[in-house]
């Protein structure tokens, strides 16, 4: 793989790297620092990337390890002092989904990191359970278990435990929380 092809591959993955980094760290500012570090490390170690394998999975591994070794503590400090990033970066979409998204992000931020990261990986990034297992260095069963627990915890945080709480037209789990919190159900 030429340097130019590798560079193009990295550029294509930047949006996913930022999204994953923000989900992991809870801060857009930290996410961008993390992405920059990841790109530098990837470039410096490009000879270790095996063409034909998933560049995204490889980059996520670097990003995740960088986060756990350098950024995790900083992330907590930033979250504590500035609150979550939810309000500041939810700038797309209409007003209603904006609010729902902010609610969902607050709940997401409350999950343990090990659950949040796998939920994002398999639920949003298109990575497989196998790839997530490899990235995290754990068994596939562990990934499945973490995803299950993450979903259960989110449902609990968003108060959407029962069937009745979910109308067919709901766009978002978070939307239910607004009414669910106020209306006493049987």
């Amino acid at each position: 793989m030429s340097a130019s092809d590798f560079k193009d591959g990295l550029i294509k993955e930047i949006p996913n790297l930022r999204a994953f980094a923000a989900s992991l760290s809870g801060s857009m500012q930290l996410a961008d620092d993390l992405v920059q570090d990841t790109l530098l490390k990837a470039w410096g170690n490009s000879d270790k990337f095996e063409p034909g394998t998933s560049l995204r999975a490889w980059l996520f591994t670097i990003l995740r390890n960088t986060y756990y070794s350098l950024y995790r503590k900083r992330g907590r400090e930033v979250q504590d002092s500035e609150g979550t990033y939810a309000e500041r970066i939810a700038v797309h979409g209409n007003q209603e989904s904006h609010l729902d998204l902010a609610d969902f992000r607050k709940a997401l931020a409350k999950l343990p990191e090990e659950q949040r990261e796998v939920l994002i990986m398999v639920g949003a990034t298109g990575l497989s359970y196998e790839e997530a297992a490899e990235i995290c260095g754990v068994a596939i069963g562990t990934i499945k278990s973490r995803v299950n627990r993450a979903r259960t915890k989110l449902a609990e945080l968003l108060s959407i435990g029962g069937l009745d709480d979910l109308g067919p037209d709901r766009q978002s789990a978070a939307a239910v929380q607004r009414t669910g919190a106020e209306i006493v159900r049987l």
Partner: protein, 75 residues
């Protein structure tokens, strides 16, 4: 830069042995949709120029190095 960062070090804690509650499929779907909305919103955000500048610099640096080094050292 350390090679350690590229390796997968976290031990398997074997926490897949607990019994898991099964969530209602509709709840799962709803969470899935919110998850995608959250992630897609981030993915669709514009990329800061600094990343493209950084990669262009790295590439230029490598080209200079392989060409035996020329002028214009900016990094």
């Amino acid at each position: 830069m350390s090679d350690v960062d590229l390796e997968m070090t976290e031990p398997d804690r074997g926490d897949d042995q607990e019994l898991e509650p099964i969530l209602d499929p509709k709840v799962q779907e709803s969470i899935g949709r919110s998850l995608k909305a959250h992630y897609d919103d981030l993915v669709n955000a514009p990329i800061p120029d600094k990343f493209l500048v950084l990669l262009a610099q790295l590439e230029a640096q490598e080209q200079r190095a392989s060409a035996g080094g020329t002028t214009n050292e900016r990094l």
